[in-house]
């Protein structure tokens, strides 16, 4: 499978007047064609900043300070805003968390949708209109002929998210990044939107990065997962390995802290004690160490590399080091990756 996206040692920092907020601290991952990659982690772990970094949309005072974002081999971080805007909405699209505020209230849905189409395709207004109707139908908006003339306030939250998705997929992007696309929606609508995304993935043949703090969402549609914490990657795995055999204490903590109605088992919810690290002065070691029940001396000093557990799983935890004490469920591996 061809790699569509390679993120290499990405570091994004906000230079605020209070100090440097190191939101993303040297993360690397690949996305292969056809993947639906989930990025999961508590709020504040750097998921949104990661996706905005890929899009080249990090706001002042933030900046990518290190690393590469290779899209089909081309480093996007080297492009200026104008060159980047040829990719955005065209080859790489993004949808956001809150459909209520993410769509411009002052223009009709049709106006905003046609604008995206005309910007990237050179269609005239009439052709763009036809394409817009097609897209609205594709994302499941009923009566598109009427709805296309509506203003966003006439749409419900779920319908707005559908409209925003229609803009994002207007030019058949190769990569679609969805940052918590269902978090702001009702549970029933959530399921519909996820269903729509799965459906679109095959229809327009796009790869997807789905950001969420909800492991349930991940288990429903992703085939690969990255677990992020404190701006770093804790664990990287395919979906089966991750749920069957989580290899990072943070991943385990996450799993114990969500209801497992997926498996039907009733279990007590165990919250992770403590709070996420202060990214202004991040701990020098593993960001999770202050909350980790297995934390060792080395964990506080030095973040673990990603240990390769299997062909489909890597985890950044010293427990995998051959010299580490035996902990039930954690695999020892010979060398660092």
């Amino acid at each position: 499978m061809a790699k569509i996206l390679e993120v290499k040692n990405l570091r994004t920092t906000f230079f605020t007047h209070l100090g440097e907020v190191q939101a993303v601290r040297g993360i690397s991952f690949d996305l292969e064609e056809g993947d639906i990659l989930g990025i999961v982690g508590e709020s504040g772990s750097g998921k949104s900043v990661t996706s905005l970094s890929i899009m080249g949309l990090v706001d002042e005072p933030g900046r990518i300070v290190e690393g590469e974002v290779l899209f089909e081999g081309l480093d996007l971080t080297k492009l200026d805003q104008k060159e980047m805007s040829n990719y955005r909405g065209n080859e790489i699209s993004m949808i956001f968390q809150d459909p209520m505020t993410s769509i411009n209230p002052a223009f009709t849905v049709g106006n905003q949708l046609r604008e995206v189409i005309m910007t990237h395709t050179g269609m005239n207004k009439e052709q763009a209109h036809q394409r817009a109707l097609e897209l609205l139908t594709m994302v499941g908006i009923p009566e598109p002929e009427t709805r296309i003339k509506n203003h966003p306030y006439q749409f419900s939250g779920g319908m707005r998210q559908r409209a925003l998705i229609s803009m994002a997929i207007a030019c058949n992007p190769k990569l679609l990044i969805a940052d918590e696309p269902t978090t702001a929606l009702d549970v029933t609508i959530q399921a519909q939107i996820l269903e729509l995304m799965r459906d679109l993935k095959t229809k327009i043949n796009t790869s997807i990065i789905l950001i969420t703090h909800d492991l349930g969402v991940i288990s429903e549609i992703c085939n690969k997962v990255i677990v992020m914490y404190g701006g770093m990657i804790m664990e990287k795995a395919d979906i089966i390995s991750l749920f069957d055999n989580p290899q990072h204490p943070y991943t385990r903590g996450l799993m114990l802290s969500v209801p497992r109605n997926v498996t039907g088992k009733k279990a007590r919810l165990i919250p992770i004690e403590g709070s996420p690290p202060d990214l202004m002065a991040p701990p020098s070691g593993c960001p999770f160490s202050p909350r980790c029940q297995h934390a060792m001396e080395i964990c506080l000093k030095k973040a673990a590399p990603l240990f390769k557990i299997s062909d489909t799983q890597e985890a950044s935890c010293w427990l995998h080091h051959p010299d580490a004490p035996e902990v039930k469920g954690f695999v020892k591996v010979a060398g660092e990756k």
Binding site: M55, N86, M100, T101, P105, F107, T108, V116, M167
Partner: protein, 310 residues
């Protein structure tokens, strides 16, 4: 929609009625009258004058007569400008005030809004500081100072710029600057803060994420939303500016309506005061109505007659 306009027009009439009534009785409540002079006139003459202008009728009769006049846009004779009616005064003064006013309004829109936008886009950069310092000066320095400075520094030194009157287009510059200074600065500040607010909105990020050019993001997506508060301010402001300014018209010796308005108050020229007040209020109400209509174009959530939220 049509019903909405009827309702608005009806409520405008009621408002004007109340304003006229209040002005009428407030003027009578203050001691003295149009014929009060420092050197008192003989009682006989005053009685004659009062009789001539029906000021010896019971107040309620005067009131009814006056309201009848207003209903037919006949504001009655001036007590001070002999032989002239209030309608004459408005007819004489309005063109001068309007001409300067229109130039001032255009300056406010053409300079104020773009200055605000540029300032917002270059927030905390030298150009932003420059615009904001100018705008702060603009809202704090009174128009008579601006007018006097203009005359002192420019027109008294440059022979082809007339000091007073409206004899040629260049003569408009001074009065228009003096008249627009405050509002231009205010509009620039308002546009800037509104633009900064809008630029933080999620839909601006969406527009960028969809690959729209920065020109479109700012000039279309941000601007339309940012102009909403500006329109609110500009509507009534236009009414105020078109009706002239006593100070500016005085300094530049412009034959305008603003002068009559203020002079009528000190002269206790009842009919002129009420006539001007009703005229100004009518124009004001009309502008507010225009603002509402403009709103329904800018902000689709506002349907005329009702506001629908999310």
């Amino acid at each position: 929609m049509f019903g909405y306009y009827l309702k608005r027009i009806f409520s405008a009439i009621v408002t004007l009625f109340i304003i006229a009534t209040l002005t009428f009785f407030m003027m009578r409540a203050i001691p003295g009258g149009p014929f009060t002079r420092e050197k008192a006139l003989p009682d006989q003459i005053i009685a004659q004058l009062n009789a001539k202008y029906n000021l010896d009728d019971p107040v309620i009769v005067q009131y009814l007569n006056y309201m009848k006049g207003i209903a037919t846009f006949n504001f009655g004779p001036s007590f001070r400008e002999l032989g002239l009616t209030v309608n004459d005064l408005i007819r004489q003064g309005l063109p001068g005030s309007m001409k300067v006013g229109i130039v001032a309004v255009l300056m406010i829109l053409v300079f104020g809004i773009p200055m605000g936008i540029i300032s917002a886009l270059k927030q905390n950069k030298p150009i932003d500081y420059t615009v904001m310092v100018l705008a702060t000066i603009g809202v704090t320095v009174p128009s008579f100072v601006v007018a006097t400075l203009y005359i002192y520094l420019i027109s008294s030194r440059v022979s082809w710029i007339p000091i007073t009157g409206l004899s040629n287009p260049i003569a408009f510059i001074g009065p228009a600057i003096a008249l627009s200074g405050y509002s231009l600065s205010y509009v620039a500040r308002l546009t800037r803060s509104s633009m900064l607010e809008v630029l933080r909105q999620d839909y601006i990020r969406t527009a960028r994420a969809n690959g729209l050019s920065e020109t479109r993001v700012i000039g279309k997506h941000a601007l339309k939303n940012a102009l909403i508060p500006v329109v609110t301010y500009v509507g009534p402001m236009i009414a105020a500016i078109l009706t002239g300014s006593f100070v500016v018209e005085r300094i530049f010796a412009i034959n305008g309506i603003g002068r009559y308005f203020v002079e009528s108050v000190s002269n206790r020229d009842y009919t002129v005061i009420i006539g001007m007040t009703v005229f100004y209020a009518g124009l004001y109400i009309f502008m507010v109505l225009l603002v509402d209509i403009a709103y329904s174009f800018i902000d689709p959530r506002i349907k005329l007659g009702k506001r629908t939220g999310d």
